[in-house]
């Protein structure tokens, strides 16, 4: 009689990843705030320009005239988003380095590489949602102030709320996309970490 090789399931559901990730963001707030600052600033810049663009279009429709964003502003935007991605990557790499032992311990307890990957990506999505919303808020305030001084507050009132909401959606999507791209390499590094090496490591 041969003994059956009993190998069961190992899991780490998305819900568990979100719970653990959210706890991490909350309890390591200083580290999270640094990563978030990069997202927030990049997104604030993006949403300021996009909102200004929207207001300009409403103005052009109502009053005529060819008020448009300058192309150099788009270049500036691109550069700022690249800087944003690089800052998040940098910040996340440090986070991985600080959590070497934790990652090693989790692997000893049965976590798979993909679980570690999932945890870091989920954390970056949480940061992106928070940072993106905050950035949009800053952009909204900044663009309204700017438009009020140049074109008058009327333009803001004429702008349909749905277009502001649509822009919020786009902004959040962009934020999540940027943060995910930025976190891929650090998360991969964390996932591939050799537990023997990680546990020997003294922080």
């Amino acid at each position: 009689m041969e003994e059956k090789r009993e190998v069961g399931r190992i899991t780490f559901s998305l819900i568990d990843a979100f719970r653990l990730g959210y706890d991490n963001v909350k309890r390591r707030f200083n580290r999270a705030a640094l990563s978030m600052a990069a997202i927030t600033l990049g997104i604030a810049f993006f949403s300021t320009l996009s909102l200004m663009d929207t207001f300009f279009r409403i103005y052009t429709q109502a009053e005529g005239g060819g008020l448009r964003m300058e192309s150099y502003q788009y270049w500036l935007l691109l550069v700022s988003l690249v800087v944003c991605v690089v800052s998040i990557t940098n910040s996340m790499l440090i986070a991985v380095y600080e959590r070497y032992r934790e990652i090693g311990t989790m692997k000893c307890l049965g976590a798979l590489d993909q679980h570690v990957l999932k945890l870091f990506l989920v954390e970056s999505i949480i940061l992106a949602l928070l940072g993106g919303s905050l950035g949009y808020g800053i952009g909204l305030v900044a663009s309204i102030i700017s438009v009020t001084f140049t074109l008058g507050f009327n333009i803001v009132l004429k702008t349909p709320p749905t277009s502001l909401l649509a822009l919020l959606g786009e902004t959040i999507l962009l934020s999540v996309a940027l943060s995910t791209v930025a976190t891929m390499y650090p998360a991969y590094r964390a996932a591939k970490l050799d537990p023997v090496e990680a546990l020997r490591y003294e922080v």
Binding site: R5, R9, I10, R101, E102, C108, G110, D113
Partner: protein
């Protein structure tokens, strides 16, 4: 057929290459561990104790030889199966506790149950029971930094038991503890070993631990020097 031995190693070797020089961390270790045994592994640092643990725990792969756990040659297992082995069959206890700082005692103990696919409330109930069993029923929501070293090691022991493992690997579990606290931890481990039938393997310098164990394996330079019956040293009683 259930093998008489829970762990067998056959000519187990692990060589590292550091700067062009080959270091033989393990060099032909043959060891058989009975079910429910309490084994101490003793030796100077660099003798290969931790490497042996990493091999048994499936954290590292041998250069030569085999590790058989519960009749299964673990070199045949893939990454998923090894993770399952670490999750369900083996509990780890470290010298430095390695609790996760951001999680409470309860969450630390419940963590392995998440990977084992136990529903959350069930995992937390179990974690609570285990923490009560190690005498920390009133410290469930404390973070590791709010606990003493001895209490942290108790949390780590509860965590190691979370998925009812067959084997506990304890690497210098009393190394960072004072005499009295170390004694408490040893009694706790011995208790788990006797009452729950867990096979306990402990690397140690601690004479008290050696005294409490069934057998003592002396290692030197990656080899087993000798194996003796335990209990050679009288355990120290505290009032």
């Amino acid at each position: 057929m259930r093998s008489e031995y829970i762990i067998e190693t056959e000519d187990l070797a692990r060589y590292y290459e550091v700067g062009g020089e080959v270091i033989k961390a393990l060099d032909g270790v043959n060891l058989r561990v009975h079910r429910g045994e309490y084994l101490s592994i003793v030796g100077p640092s660099g003798a290969g104790k931790t490497t042996l643990f990493n091999m048994i725990g499936g954290l590292d792969r041998p250069t030569r030889g085999r590790v058989i756990i519960d009749g299964v040659d673990i070199s045949q297992l893939d990454a998923y199966e090894l993770a399952w082995l670490r999750c369900r069959k083996i509990g780890y206890i470290f010298q430095t506790f390695n609790l996760i700082d951001t999680l409470t005692a309860l969450e630390n103990v419940a963590l392995p149950t998440i990977f084992a696919g136990v529903p959350r409330d069930e995992g937390e109930r179990k974690a609570k029971r285990l923490l009560e069993a190690v005498g920390l029923g009133d410290r469930l929501n404390h973070k590791p930094r709010e606990l003493s070293a001895g209490q942290q090691q108790r949390v780590a022991i509860a965590r190691a038991m979370a998925n009812d493992p067959a084997i506990i690997l304890a690497d210098e579990p009393t190394g960072n503890l004072d005499l009295h606290t170390g004694m408490e931890i040893i009694n706790l481990l011995r208790d788990l070993n006797e009452k729950r039938g867990v096979t306990l393997i402990s690397a140690t310098h601690d004479l008290k631990m050696i005294g409490a164990s069934d057998r003592v394996v002396y290692m030197r330079d990656g080899k087993i020097e000798k194996i003796e019956k335990g209990g050679q040293y009288p355990s120290i009683d505290f009032p």
